[in-house]
């Protein structure tokens, strides 16, 4: 069972661990701000408030998408590592190697986009990357794909190290996931939720990354041997199998922060249960087989796959609503919580996830997809659960850790103002996308029709407010993480912990 001590001794960051964690989180929050500003630039351009050339727009879009997905993965990997290391013996070299490979991959991607002029988006949907129409070369596309491969290899390395550590402790991944308690038996109350969630991520995302690696290698072969064509539908299946799992894994890694930290702030135990085990076992299966909802408009796809995409999309709502959200709200109810910045972000993150899944499920319905696919409805729902959901989970942990020096969670007036900016700006920003999608505004377009501009303006205003809050958080968190640990932490002496 997760600790109720606010800053337990076994979570203390010292030496190389502290450096590695700070590298991950300061890099991530800096990248988030830069990539948000890139996103705002595109929205301002669509709103006709700022001029961006068409070729630059698609380069910015490629950078924003690739960067945000990668940075979400980087930061939530740090969340998973931060908690999982308490329960199993993770190797720090694997965690650091993942960071190094991520940075190398990021350099390849940045060079491909801003020097090589690559503009075929993060989805690198075959055969667009090798059809640059003179704007970028095949070798530029190869560099972009190689960058993605490096990032994928880093993630796999981290997952395999975590898998080995989990298997060593729990015997196999099934037992770590808790499947032995699905139907019978007394659940070990000390079985960590962090282990359950991490195991799910390792199983699903390793498969996803391998699928991504296959299509990337196939595409790279096509770059150098153009006569070897790929089947476009197979390539698309592999791309979205990878893409869906990779970005969804960020939610499942990020939510570990809520499972671990929320009971400390409410002061109420948040025990593991059979519905929880069922929820995560089912989610493991769901996240692996739900990806066909991205290919509903590919009518050549076998019909059973498309129907499965809808049925599983709808099913995925059960664990989110009935177990994670309900359980967290039950833990919060009448707890006597004294609100701090991390707890505010935890509850916001669950709202972002739960509310964001509503338009996502609607879009994952074949009939609706006929009129909503590739409209701004799609960035509307994924920004909902990524900005208000996943990023809030990461911010909750970042803020929590900045308080470790004084063993006091941050809760300044400036934090409250920043949180208000983030919440209000975020809501306006995502609702502008959803409203636009409802009006059939297409996504991924550098130039917009005149009748589309009002929602572009609304989105730009929301994004500006959101980013103001985020810039404050980035400065506040970076300084907080960089400040020297307290003398008791530096010497490794036991420090007093407080609980609520």
């Amino acid at each position: 069972m997760a600790s109720l001590t606010l800053y337990p001794e076994d979570e203390r960051l010292v030496g190389a661990s502290r450096v590695a964690f700070n590298l991950y989180m300061i890099t991530a929050i800096g990248l988030f701000v830069i990539l948000m500003i890139i996103g705002l630039t595109m929205r301002l351009s669509q709103a006709m408030w700022f001029e961006v050339q068409v070729d630059l727009f698609y380069k910015l879009l490629s950078m924003h998408g690739t960067g945000m997905v990668g940075t979400a993965a980087l930061s939530t990997t740090a969340v998973m590592w931060y908690f999982l290391r308490k329960y199993v013996n993770l190797h720090l070299w694997a965690f650091i190697t993942n960071y190094v490979l991520f940075m190398l991959g990021a350099v390849c991607i940045i060079v491909a986009i801003f020097i090589g002029d690559y503009g075929a988006l993060w989805t690198f949907l075959y055969p667009l990357p090798v059809n640059g129409m003179g704007l970028w070369s095949s070798y530029t596309a190869a560099l972009f794909m190689a960058g993605n491969l490096l990032i994928g290899v880093g993630s796999l390395l981290f997952y395999f190290d975590a898998a080995a550590a989990i298997i060593k402790k729990h015997g196999n991944l099934g037992r770590a996931l808790g499947v032995q308690w699905l139907f019978k038996g007394t659940i070990d109350p000390n079985h960590p939720k962090a282990v359950v969630a991490s195991t799910m991520v390792i199983i699903a995302n390793s498969l996803g990354i391998l699928a991504g690696a296959v299509v990337l290698v196939m595409s790279l072969i096509n770059v150098f041997y153009p006569d070897m064509h790929l089947d476009a539908l197979l390539a698309k299946n592999l791309t979205y199998w990878f893409g869906h799992m990779y970005i969804n894994a960020t939610i499942y890694m990020g939510v570990i922060a809520v499972y671990e930290l929320l009971p400390r702030y409410t002061g109420k135990p948040y025990a593991i249960s059979r519905p929880f085990i069922w929820s995560w076992s089912a989610s493991t299966l769901f996240v692996i087989i739900v990806y066909p909802h991205h290919l509903m408009m590919d009518f050549a796809q076998p019909q059973w796959l498309t129907i499965m995409g809808q049925v599983i999309s709808w099913s995925a709502g059960f664990p989110v609503f009935l177990v994670t959200t309900f359980g967290a709200l039950q833990n919060l109810h009448r707890s006597g919580i004294k609100w701090k910045t991390p707890s505010r972000f935890m509850i916001l993150s669950l709202f972002g996830w739960a509310a964001g899944i509503v338009p996502a499920i609607l879009d994952g319905t074949v009939r609706n997809n006929l009129v909503m696919h590739n409209t701004q409805w799609v960035p509307g729902h994924f920004h909902f659960y990524l900005v208000l959901g996943v990023l809030s989970m990461v911010l909750a942990l970042m803020f929590h850790v900045t308080g470790s020096r004084t063993q006091t969670p941050p809760n300044s007036s400036a934090d409250k103002i920043g949180f208000s900016f983030y919440l209000i700006g975020g809501l306006v920003f995502v609702l502008a996308f959803l409203a636009a999608g409802h009006m059939s505004v297409a996504r991924r377009m550098a130039t917009h029709l005149e009748q589309w501009i009002p929602t572009d303006k609304m989105g730009s205003i929301g994004a500006t407010i959101l980013i103001l809050g985020m810039i404050y958080f980035a400065v506040r968190i970076s300084i907080g993480l960089l400040r020297s640990p307290s003398s008791s932490q530096a010497t490794g002496a036991s420090s007093s912990s407080s609980s609520q």
Binding site: V54, Y58, G119, L121, L125, P127, L128, M133, L135, A232, L233, K236, M297, D298, F299, A300, I307, Q310, V311, W314, G317, F318, F321, L322, F326, L329, H333, R334, S335, G336, K338, I347, L350, F351, A354, A355, V358, P359, L362, T365, V366, R367, N368, L370, V371, M372, H373, N374, T375, L434, G437, H438, M439, S440, A442, R444, M445, A446, T447, L449
Partner: protein, 180 residues
């Protein structure tokens, strides 16, 4: 009424209900319950969870049946005998043959691509999407649609296909039955 308006209404209702649930709990969070009250709350929560499961299950079953029993995409195993319109997408233009069609006539759009993935979306004169499919190299997707109103519709690419993606549109003339 457009299907999009129904979806928007359901989404706003669903998201508002989620927000309401959060606000109700947040307003009660700061006051700490004693053990007896907490036990009673837990019992209430268990009942509420059972009810929520039942309601979600009902929505799942009835919604799946309502949206899937009359499957909205035609079988792709051959021509249906409807009037065929061949559509070929390429970077960055459309070939549509014939480019004028009549109201009330069931149309089968046979959509493919010569190069990369494109999205074939039909916008009505009010600028709302009526239906769509993907245009994919090596495959032909068959989309059925019957126009009820004459006017100038727009075929718009909805799958990002490079620099010329946004302007990749084509006017589709729909004339009243007997008007050709």
């Amino acid at each position: 009424m457009y299907l999009q308006d129904v979806i928007w209404t359901i989404a706003l209702t669903g998201m508002s209900l989620v927000a309401l649930g959060f606000l109700l709990i947040i307003f009660r969070a700061s006051k700490q319950a004693d053990e007896a009250t907490r036990a009673a709350s837990n019992a209430t929560a268990r009942k509420l969870k059972t009810w929520m499961f039942g309601i979600l299950l009902l929505i799942f079953v009835s919604g799946s049946w309502a949206t899937l029993h009359d499957y909205p995409i035609v079988f792709q195993d051959g021509s249906s005998g409807q009037q065929a319109v061949t559509v070929v997408g390429r970077m960055w233009s459309w070939d549509v043959i014939p480019d004028t069609i009549r109201t009330g006539v069931p149309i089968e759009f046979q959509v493919t691509s010569e190069d990369v993935n494109h999205g074939f979306a039909i916008y009505d004169p009010n600028g709302r999407i009526l239906s769509q499919t993907q245009a994919m190299p090596g495959y032909t997707n068959r989309l059925h649609y019957t126009f009820s109103q004459p006017g100038t519709y727009t075929i718009q690419c909805l799958e990002f296909c490079g620099m010329g993606h946004a302007p990749m549109s084509y006017p589709l003339e729909v004339v009243a039955k007997g008007g050709m």
